[in-house]
Each structure stands twice: as C-alpha cells, then as structure tokens.
Symmetry: C2
Subunit: 333 residues, 2 copies
Amino acid sequence: MVRPTIVDVAQAAGVSRATAARVLAGATNVDTAMAAAVEREARRLGYETNFAARVLRGGRAGAIGLVIAFDELGSLSGTFFTAVLKGAAKGLSAGEVQPVLLPADHEDLDRIPRFLRSGALDGAIVILQHEITHLVERLADSPVPIAWVGRPHADIGPDPIVIDSDNYGGGVLAARALIEAGRRSIGIITGPLDLEQARERTRGWTDELARHGLTPGPIVHGDFTLDSGTAAMARLLQRAPDLDGIFASSDLMAAGAIRVLQAAGRRVPTDVSVVGFDDVLIASTSDPPLTTVRQPLEEMGRAAADTLLATIRGLPTEKVQVLPTSIVRRESL
Amino acid sequence: MVRPTIVDVAQAAGVSRATAARVLAGATNVDTAMAAAVEREARRLGYETNFAARVLRGGRAGAIGLVIAFDELGSLSGTFFTAVLKGAAKGLSAGEVQPVLLPADHEDLDRIPRFLRSGALDGAIVILQHEITHLVERLADSPVPIAWVGRPHADIGPDPIVIDSDNYGGGVLAARALIEAGRRSIGIITGPLDLEQARERTRGWTDELARHGLTPGPIVHGDFTLDSGTAAMARLLQRAPDLDGIFASSDLMAAGAIRVLQAAGRRVPTDVSVVGFDDVLIASTSDPPLTTVRQPLEEMGRAAADTLLATIRGLPTEKVQVLPTSIVRRESL
DNA sequence: CTGAAAGCGCTTACAG
DNA sequence: CTGAAAGCGCTTACAG
C-alpha cells in the first residue's frame, strides 16, 4: 500500500517530474497531450500530493489551530463553544484549511505555544473562555497570526485580530428590557470578571440603569455555568428578597437562577423577570423559555476564520469586528 | 521571524547537525558537554523540530482525523457528539497526537478520503451518525487505520476497529424498566434505521417485551433530534391514544415526546412513562428529568483513541469493544 | 562517540 | 514549452 509519488505519475505519463508538477499545479502552458496523460495517470494511480513535502518546500501548512478549553467539551457550557466552532469550521473548510483542535489543559502550559512554533499550523483561533485566560500571554507572541474570539484583557501585541460581539450593548438591551417590563429592583449575576466580555455586559447594564435613574441592585458573580447560576441566585435572594428583575450574563446561569427562584416559590415572570445572555439551546428548552440577549456565535466563528485566512494570505481585511447583539423575547420577562 | 533549524542549533553549540539531532532525540551515547551545549542553545534559540521535515523523513504525522457530521456541530444533538469528542480528544492528547476535525459535508464526498491519502494523518476516528452513513463505504478502503464509534452497517473491510455500546442490552433495559413500572401498552420512537445502533435498540426492546408475553406497541421513526421526537409522538398518540409507556431511542426525542404528551394533557409519569437513551445534558434539565439508558460516551471516545493509537504503533489491542449501557433512574418513569 | 552524506517528495528558478 | 537540478529540514545508516 505504498503511496504513489509525483515521480510515479511522471514516469507513467512519460514526462519529467517537473512537467507533472506543473500540470498538477494547474499550469496552462503545457502541451495538451502531456497534460492529459499526466491527469489520466494521476487519477489512475490515485495520486495525492504528499502534504509534508509540500509544506517543507515552503507552502502553507493548510491547517489552523482552534484553541478551546478542554473541560468545556461535552459539558453544559459546551453549547457556547460548539456554536463558535461550527462557524469557524465552516469558514476554514470553505478555505480548504483543516481545523486542528488544541485543547488547553493545565498540565503543560507550553504545549500549545510550542506547537505553534513547529510550523504545523498557519495560524490559530482562540475562543476566549474563563479557563483559557492564563494562556493568553503565552500565546501573544506566537510566530503565526492569531484570531481572538472575545477581547483579551491582557496585552496581545500590535494590530491583533479580534472578533467580538457588542457585550456592552447587550448589557444595555438587557437592562432596558427589564425596565420596560416595569421592573425596578434589578440584580445581576455577572460572568467571571477576568473576561472582558463579562465586565462589558455588567457595565452596559449599570449604565442603562443609571440613565433611568435606577440604582443597580445587588451584584453577584458566577462563572457562566448552570451550577454557578444557582449558587449566585441563592445569594441574591438572601441579599435582596424583594428583587423583581435579574440579568444573568449567560443562559446557563439564567436557567440555574430560575430553578432557585421557582424552588423559593417565586413565579417567573409574574413575580420576577429574568433575562439571559447567549441564546443557546437551553434558552429555548428552559421552563419558561428565556428572554435573552443573542450573540451571533456562529457568525463570530465564521468571521474569525475568514479574517484569519485573509491575513495569512495577505489580503486586506478588517481586523477588529464587533458583531451586534439583539434581544430575543420569549417568556421569562 | 525566521525559525531556527537544527543546523542553527548545531552551529551555536559547535557540533555537527547529526550530534544535535541525536541529543534532541534523547540519545544517551553523546558526550555530556556536547549534549549540554546542544540543549542550552536549543532552548536559547527557541528551537522546535520542524514538523513537516520530520514527517517527510518518515515519521508519523502526529495527527488523527475526527470525522463528524458537520451539521451536528452546535445543534441540539451536538451533545452526543461532543461527549465522544471529549473522550477522543483526551485520549489523543495523552498520546501526543493532534485531533484534526474533518467535518463531513455533502458537497464534496471525496474530500475526506482524499485527505486520508495525503499523508497528513496517521488515522481517523469516525463517529457514526445518521448524516455520515453515505461516507462509510468511501472511507472503508482508507490507507490509514480507522476507528469506528458505532457499528457501520456496510462492509468496512477485515479486522476493523469498532467501539460501540451495548445498544441491544440498552433496549432490553428500557423495556424491562417500563414493564416493571407496570406499563403494558408500550410504544417506541426509533432512531434512523440506517444506523445499526438504532436497529439494535429496537431489537432489544422488542425481544424483552416478547419475553414478558407483551406485543410491541406502535413503532414510529425519528432521527434522534428533538423535533423528530415531537413529530413522532404526535403520530404515536394518533395511532394508540391509550399508550402508557414510551421508549424513545434518544434523550432529545424523549424530551420532544414529553412536551407533546403534556400539551395533550397527559401527565408524565403518572399517565405515561417515558424512557430515553444516551444520558446527555437534556436528560437532567428536562421537566420531568428523564429516566434513560446511559451510554458511556466519553469512555467510548477515549477507547477509540487508545485503540487506534495502539494499532498505529503496532501494539496489541482489543479491536472490537462493546461498552456496557446502564439505566439511570430519574422522574419520567 | 562523531560527522559527512543520503534521501524523504515536492516545487520552481534556471538553462535550453 | 520541457527537463535537470537545487533545496526545504530532518534523521539515520555508514564510515571513521
């Protein structure tokens, strides 16, 4: 089962390897008969360009790394990551580039930076998550370009590629929706504050409340997971039993919060309105279905892939993109 | 930003490239002073073996493909796939091998087989899903070994690696649980019958009912998605309004079925018991939480990775593994 | 123990 | 338009 090389194809077609290479590369200035022979033999032999040889010769690796938090895979919060991944994979696929998963684990911090130095990848997309923040600085001086999904807190060098959604605007939308529903005692469950996303959502919420002359209700922190939402909600209820509105910075935390509210005898949305963030699966399967701030996750993944590929190929492109958030009205408000 | 080569390291250390290569490969029969110099210079220069050159020289590609249904990514049923993926990624990671996503789309059927012929991968793991069955035959004559998660229907050549769960046994467990709960008019929502998994679950269910002298209730078909579960449940109710038990071959379909039952005024489990299959996220977030047949999805992914790597490395290994299913009792029964 | 040399498969600048 | 040759960076069989 030895793979045929370009020499085999050239021999079978009765031409030099240079000619065979030209035909296979799509050159047009080749004798028609020769070209036909090369193409016929390549097909007959099942020839496929040896990938390692092409890369070594100076081509692109044809692969892009996708840095994700290992533990997110298959977990509750996996839906956020898979949506971005889907968009990124589609974009890379359309660009004939292979997505390589680079799960960030805590055991070997230098593993991913090292891999980026090996020439196996033309670039990487980093999906910023709580569990990854410790890697940001190590990735910042990568020899290949990196597209960040979400805005890193740390310094990531000059002219970075950053694809984000309008988290501040999303926080504003959430606050406004709660206010318009007549809520006046509004608390928040934030995400982990080492993530710019989480801080921006909180800031938008605070500012919008202030614009309406309302004092922000109690602020408690979660880490975007369902369990952290239940814990945070329990704390909120203790600190402000008269709460009538809650902005949870992720749908998972919103779902967790609703359970705690219901267990405490509060009806959603009759007694308390809840607004989530993300618009992932659980937003529509939760009971009641969540009113939430939608992030265009798949589009963000797609934009990261397209922008990174354009950069690698030296094409002009917008390096910083902030995609709009919007409110999706269901029944928790 | 030129990457240092082994020649740069050798020069800096004042030895030949052969000696440098030996040191870097971990050879012990090298002068201690030379070895120390090589290691020092390699670190100082930030040397990393050029991946393409090593592969071309005859080494392993150090990468394994993960063939998945593109549309599953980020969709409702993504949870099944992400759980397997997590296990596989962990296993590959532990083996110092990179997981490369190979999303199967319908536009270019030869894309993945072609890639497997390019030498870029040492093997592949195929997660069998409905959307992938058309690819099975094209993958069967891959030049690199393939590990199948789930048992393909088609012929896949001699001595294949197959990691599966005990679907038949799971069907038996589901039927038995429904019978022990006193149910006598029991219907089934099967998965897509081009998947062996779906057929085996149905067979286990049928056989167990027969063993108890019960005639199988109506059989309707879904495709594992939530929407197909609601549609199937509507048909079941039409055909057998007196149904008191349902085995849905996926948790998503079970969740969909429960909604339809509740909308039709049936209480779960008081009037109708429902048993699902998989034990993914929605099983515990559904209302009521699902009693379901658990597949050890992450373990299956891990076993696929371990078995494939052992095969590639020529180590002895069990090529066909059927992992046990078990029943997880919650509140839908 | 160490080094010079060959060769993996490809692409392209160069000569004709 | 075509072919002979060089070279990408690595590893290892061979000679010393």
